[in-house]
């Protein structure tokens, strides 16, 4: 056996390589079938970064469809509620350059808002309930509606359909339970000589 191999080094090497490639090919083929991932995992990852306001400002009916659209090649800077931080996270995930937010789709909101229904004026038309992408409005036909503030994403979609304009977007009041310390406003000075020079020139 060994003699045969030594006598035909090239042929035996060829046989060995071919049989190895066949073996590994078979293993890979089996693994591809056995451990097949259903759906596109990158869509899920993008979806988990998006803010889930479901506001449709990107032009898609919800965050998941936009995630799918990004995978299909759409721009990542169409999400105003997520703002620059979301764009940065998406750019990081997709390993592309982070663009600025596309102002065409709206500007990044500086304060959090939730919808509020002036209940005395509500006529119970259920139009806002149908518009709400997260089912955060409670009510029935000809009954007064109200917003579940905790579930409201502040997407604004209920405001337009209201025939009596009784929905306001109110700013979420700061609350003790949500309060956090702020980062020190003044950043530590830069002591590197070039920085100082730069500052001097600017001044």
């Amino acid at each position: 056996m060994f003699e045969l191999i030594f006598q035909n080094p090239i042929a035996s090497a060829l046989i060995a390589l071919v049989s190895l490639s066949l073996l590994f090919g078979a293993i890979l083929g089996f693994a591809a079938v056995r451990y097949k991932v259903e759906g596109n995992p990158i869509v899920e990852q993008i979806d988990s970064i998006l803010p889930q306001t479901q506001c449709g400002q990107c032009g898609y009916p919800g965050c998941k469809p936009y995630a799918q659209a990004i995978v299909d090649g759409d721009a990542i800077n169409k999400c105003p509620p997520g703002g620059q931080s979301t764009i940065n996270a998406l750019a990081d995930l997709l390993d592309i350059e982070a663009p600025r937010l596309d102002e065409e789709h709206g500007v990044e909101p500086d304060v959090k808002k939730v919808a509020f229904i002036r209940e005395a004026e509500c006529i119970g038309c259920t139009k806002c309930i149908q518009a709400c992408p997260t089912d955060a409005i409670l009510g029935a036909a000809k009954q007064m509606h109200t917003v579940i503030a905790d579930e409201c994403t502040g997407c604004d979609l209920c405001v337009d359909p209201c025939p009596v304009d009784c929905i306001d977007m109110i700013v979420v009041e700061p609350h003790l339970s949500r309060w956090t310390w702020e980062l020190p406003g003044v950043k530590p000075l830069q002591l590197i000589a070039t920085d100082k020079l730069h500052q001097g020139q600017a001044a």
Partner: protein
């Protein structure tokens, strides 16, 4: 182990990493004995003075309350009761500024005191050993005891350990390492017996841990002496129980629960765990005392010992202060000079925070009110760049990398901050204290922690929104599918009705079919049924079309006959004065001709149609046989007559043709004339034959 003094020397101590030695500044407030304040005219009692859910108010405006009366009920397990600190009348339940770094407001009960300080009836307990542990915990809970060391953790919750945790060490924390604060020191000096009694009580509740250790820093000799005396004189409720007094070296932050447990037991609490997970529980001396008083005298937590210190005050001391006393009232009674003070801090110089509003009240966790002068606590100099000296990592008691955390906090890199265990930071401030660049490191960590918490809660909310969105999508899809099915069903029903109406129109010939269709259309339609009805309808139309066509043709013939008649009608002049012109006559002739043509056409069509119909109905063979039979049955006379008739018809035609040819002077006129003559001869012959035949028959028949 003859005395407590002996045992204290034998206690083995461990060390915790890092730590600093800041100026203690404990002399100022320990020179005067524990003081008391007159009852303030108004008490502001926040409903949230502890970690967890705020209490729910159980009183109304205008109610008169007694000292120690419940005014706020714990909302859930993770909450604490709130009591009126003095007797008086409730004047408001409203949002009021809290002693909180945010300067935000929270719900407070405001009491206008009557100055009598009448106590509500309390339930005392002489011997707690005869009482169920759960009852004791309920008493502590009812008294609203929360961690007085600074965190405000509800004590009853802390003492309710899981069944898997066997507590073998009870640590009573009297270390009080933070500069300026001497409240626990004063408490141990004044109420050493209560501290010891509290320690035994907690030991009983925790099923007698093997060790009860009181840890006191060695910079409190008076407290240590008082405790020694108290331990040796104390009538032990239980012979086995032994209290060890551990004097620990002064090093900040030895008073941290994790650090003290590590010093006294050598056990380090792992990341993400509580002290109970290393079988130890750490309780502040003040909390132990409050628990004891709650059980023994049924006294709720309505006052605490607080250090009032700082050079901007004329009197610096410890006071026993009612909870809810406005801080500005406390400061007034200590000669506070706001022009000298740089700020007022609640807590010590290391971990305390500047009070944004001095109207805020003293709460259960207010262990110190520090009013330093500008010299004492100058405003921090501007932060310089980090020079990466590493001093912060050396002093960190939690063995973290403050410098790294600082970078990540600046970059708001949530993942890396968590990877570097930012939540193990106890915010002791040792790193900021040693930082040569004066970077407010702890402020960065606090902000970063808050950011991460917000981030997590936002993530949770986003996940919930996603779930709700997906559920809604699913629901709408389902609804659409149901609608689609209904729509299809309706469409099918509508189609059937249409079909039925069409049939109704045709049903004059076959009314029975209609009845059948009504029956079929009422039930829910099935494709098969539809197919059957369609086929039936098709069949009927086919069948009916025969009769229909026939009747149609007949109608056409009738119409044509009518028009012929009307065309033949003599012309009547509309105006009798004008006679009918030549032109009109010619037109009438052409009309008649057209009408006759149409009639002939229609008759032909009908005969064709009838022929085809007959063909369809009758067998052609049968028809031939009948025709043949009819011929054979004819008599010779009849035959002859028929022959003559046909010949006469032909003669007439021939004569007409000949006449026409003659008129036109065509060359064939002579030939036609000859043919006519021949025809006349033939007819004459046939007539003769017929005559002869008749003559023959007559005699026969006669």
């Amino acid at each position: 182990m003859n005395s407590a003094a002996d045992s204290s020397r034998l206690i083995k101590l461990w060390e915790f990493p890092g730590g600093i030695y800041p100026p203690e500044n404990k002399k100022q407030s320990t020179e005067l004995p524990l003081g008391h304040l007159p009852i303030p005219p108004q008490l502001i009692i926040p409903l949230s003075q502890h970690i967890g859910a705020p209490a729910k108010s159980v009183v109304k405006i205008g109610h008169n309350v007694l000292a120690g009366q419940l005014i706020g009920e714990a909302d859930g397990t993770f909450s604490a009761n709130i009591h009126a600190s003095s007797s008086g009348k409730i004047i408001a339940i409203e949002n009021f500024v809290l002693p909180h770094p945010s300067g935000m407001s929270g719900e407070c009960v405001r009491i206008k005191t009557d100055g009598e300080h009448k106590f509500a009836a309390t339930e005392t307990c002489e011997n707690y050993l005869t009482v169920e542990r759960t009852t004791l915990l309920a008493k502590i809970r009812a008294a609203g005891v929360a961690g007085l060391g600074g965190a405000g953790f509800p004590t009853a919750v802390k003492l309710t350990t899981k069944s898997t945790q066997k507590i073998d060490t009870l640590v009573i924390n009297g270390a009080e390492c933070e500069p300026y604060i001497t409240a626990d020191d004063m408490l141990m000096q004044m109420h050493a017996n209560d501290v010891i009694a509290g320690a035994f009580l907690l030991s009983y509740i925790l099923h007698h841990p093997q060790r009860i250790i009181i840890g006191v820093e060695d910079n409190k000799p008076k407290a240590i002496a008082a405790l020694r005396v108290a331990i040796s004189n104390f009538a032990k409720p239980d012979q086995d129980a032994e209290i060890e007094l551990a004097v620990v070296p002064t090093k900040y932050p030895s008073g941290g629960a994790k650090q003290l447990i590590q010093m006294l037991t050598g056990r380090e609490i792992p990341h993400g765990h509580h002290s109970a997970d290393v079988n130890a529980i750490c309780v502040n001396v003040g909390t132990a005392t409050a628990a004891w008083r709650a059980v023994r005298f049924g006294e709720p937590l309505i006052s605490r010992v607080t250090t009032i210190v700082g050079d901007s005050l004329t009197t610096q001391r410890n006071i026993s202060v009612l909870i809810g006393t406005p801080i500005d009232y406390v400061l007034q009674h200590h000669g506070f000079d706001s022009t000298k003070a740089s700020r007022v801090i609640m807590g010590g110089s290391m971990m305390g925070f500047t009070l944004p509003d001095l109207r805020a009240p003293v709460i259960k966790t207010t262990n110190c009110i520090l009013a330093p002068t500008k010299q004492e606590a100058p405003l921090p100099p501007p932060a310089q760049a980090c020079i990466r000296c590493g001093l912060c990592s050396e002093v960190c008691p939690a063995s973290l990398l403050p410098q790294q955390l600082f970078w990540y906090a600046q970059a708001e890199d949530v993942e890396r901050l968590q990877a570097h265990n930012i939540f193990d930071c106890i915010e002791c401030g040792a790193c900021s204290y040693v930082c040569p660049s004066k970077i407010p490191l702890v402020q960065y960590y606090r902000a970063a922690k808050g950011n991460i918490r917000n981030h997590i809660s936002e993530k949770e909310k986003a996940d919930r929104s996603r779930e709700r969105f997906e559920f809604r999508k699913l629901r709408i899809e389902k609804e659409e599918a149901v609608k689609e099915v209904k729509r299809l069903a309706r469409k099918q029903a509508a189609d059937e009705v249409k079909l039925k109406l069409a049939e109704q129109k045709l049903a004059t010939a076959e009314p029975t079919l209609l009845g059948e269709n009504i029956n079929t259309s009422t039930g829910p339609s099935v494709p098969q049924l539809e197919a059957v009805t369609l086929a039936m309808a098709k069949a009927t139309t086919n069948q009916l079309s025969f009769d229909d066509q026939k009747s149609r043709l007949e109608r056409i013939i009738a119409a044509a006959k009518n028009s012929v008649q009307s065309a033949r009608a003599p012309l009547v002049p509309k105006n009798p004065e004008f006679p009918i012109t030549e032109e009109q006559l010619v037109r009438q002739q052409s009309r008649i001709k057209q009408a006759e043509l149409k009639l002939a056409e229609a008759e032909k069509k009908l005969s064709d149609f009838l022929l085809t119909e007959n063909q369809v109905i009758e067998n052609p063979v049968q028809a031939a046989i009948t025709r043949a039979q009819a011929k054979t049955t004819q008599s010779p006379e009849e035959k002859l007559r028929a022959n003559i008739e046909t010949m006469q018809a032909r003669l007439i035609k021939a004569m007409e043709k000949a006449e026409q040819a003659k008129n036109d002077q065509s060359p064939s006129a002579n030939a036609l004339q000859l043919a006519v003559e021949k025809m006349q001869q033939k007819i004459a012959e046939a007539d003769n034959e017929l005559q002869a035949l008749n003559n023959n028959i007559k005699p026969d028949s006669d």
